[in-house]
Structures are given as C-alpha cells and as structure tokens.
Amino acid sequence: MFDTLDVFGLAQARARHAAARQEEVARNVANADTPGYRARDIIAFEEAFRATGPRDRTPHLSLRTIDAGGPESPNGNTVSLEAEMVRAVDAQRDHNRALNVYRSAMNVLRTSLGR
C-alpha cells in the first residue's frame, strides 16, 4: 500500500474529480434561468480514472463533461435545481471522503516515522 503511495494519488484524483463536478454544479445553477442552456456533468469517477489506470505514477484524470440530460423547459433550459442540489451534496461527500482518506494515510505515515 505504501510502497508507491498509490493511496495519495487516488485520494487526490477523487478530490479533484469532486471539485470539478462541484464547478459544473455551480455553472448549472448559475444558468438555471438562461434560455437554451443545457445542464452538464462530469463523467463518473470510475470511468475518468480507468482511462489512465491506477498503476500510473502520476494519475491523470480525464475530466470530460457530458450532457446531464433531464427534461427541457419551454425556453430550452434543462437545469433542474433539485437534481443539482443532489449532485452538489454528492460532490461534497466524495470530496470529504477523499480528504479523510488522504489525512488518515498521512497519519499512518507520520506514525511510522515516529512524529
């Protein structure tokens, strides 16, 4: 687990994915009343991370945006504030979890160094 410090790369990638997703949520919510705007999302983490593989020393994420879908209102806008709230909470939970993993791995390292 600690020979190549994969866990840090993984936690970092997950946190970056959650942050990018939160940015898309912010963009969608800000454009909730813009005519013709289509809601967007980031591809799922599994998909984004599989593209490069966890063996990569510096895991590079492909944070592609996709159309989030959803019903279209008469002015062509597809943002649903409720769906965005769910997505925002999801992103926040993912981010917190990734940071907690990072912190606890760091604690293990610190303990093994006797600090």
């Binding site: 946190a15 970056r16 959650a18 942050a19 990018a20 939160q22 940015e23 949520v25 912010a26 963009r27 919510v29 800000a30 454009n31 909730a32 009343d33 813009t34 005519p35 705007y37 504030l81 965005e84 709230m85 925002a88 909470v89 992103a91 926040q92 981010h95 917190n96 940071l99 990072y102 912190r103 760091m106």
Partner: protein, 129 residues
Amino acid sequence: MSFSSALAIAASGMRSQASRISHVSENIANTDTPGYRRKTVAFEPDRSPGATPGAVITGPVRLDRTALPQVYDPSHPLADETGHYAGSNVDMVVELADARQAQRSYEANLRVFDQVRQMSSSLGDLLRR
C-alpha cells in the same frame, strides 16, 4: 483552479438574480404609472473578456410589448376626450411569481457558494496537523 472559478460562477448567478429582482421591484413600484411598460431582462452566458467560462450575466433590458390597457377615468389629468388613459401593462401576479423564482434561484446559488467554500476550507485544513 476549479474552486475559485466555481465561486466566481455562483457569484455571477447571484448578481444576475439580484439585477432581475431589482427590475421586478421597479415594475411593481410602477404598477399605477400611466403608460409604464414592464421591464424584463433575459439571462445569457457572460462572453466578456476575462469572464469565467459558464458565468451568467443579464442581457439588455427589454420592454414588454403587450398593449397598454385603456383605463376609463374621465377625472384623470391624462384622460383623452373619451375619458380613457393608457395604464401600465404590469401584471402583479406575474411579477410576484418572477420575484419568487428569482429568490429561489438566488438561494440555490448561495447554497452552492457556501458548499464550495466549505470544500475549499476542508482542503486547507489538510495543511494543519
């Protein structure tokens, strides 16, 4: 950095909703002004140089082109020979619904802003021991 642009985007949403609600209050204040046409603003993507991609901005102010209602009041100073004058085309129900929608969208932006702030502060907490 994705946090700072997320914050900028949420702030642009709040700014646009605030400008929308200021036009709503202008309309409501002028409900009884003779000849007043209701003002509307549409949202559009912010394409000004230096703007964060995906930020929103309010477009130019447009006037509602619905015909002004003819109000019958012979004692009114603006009344013509038939006793009618042009009222305003503000519909109170539409304005109140618009105000409520603006409030709802504003709160959603505010929540996103707060959540991004929390995420970035918990990231900063990693630096502390």
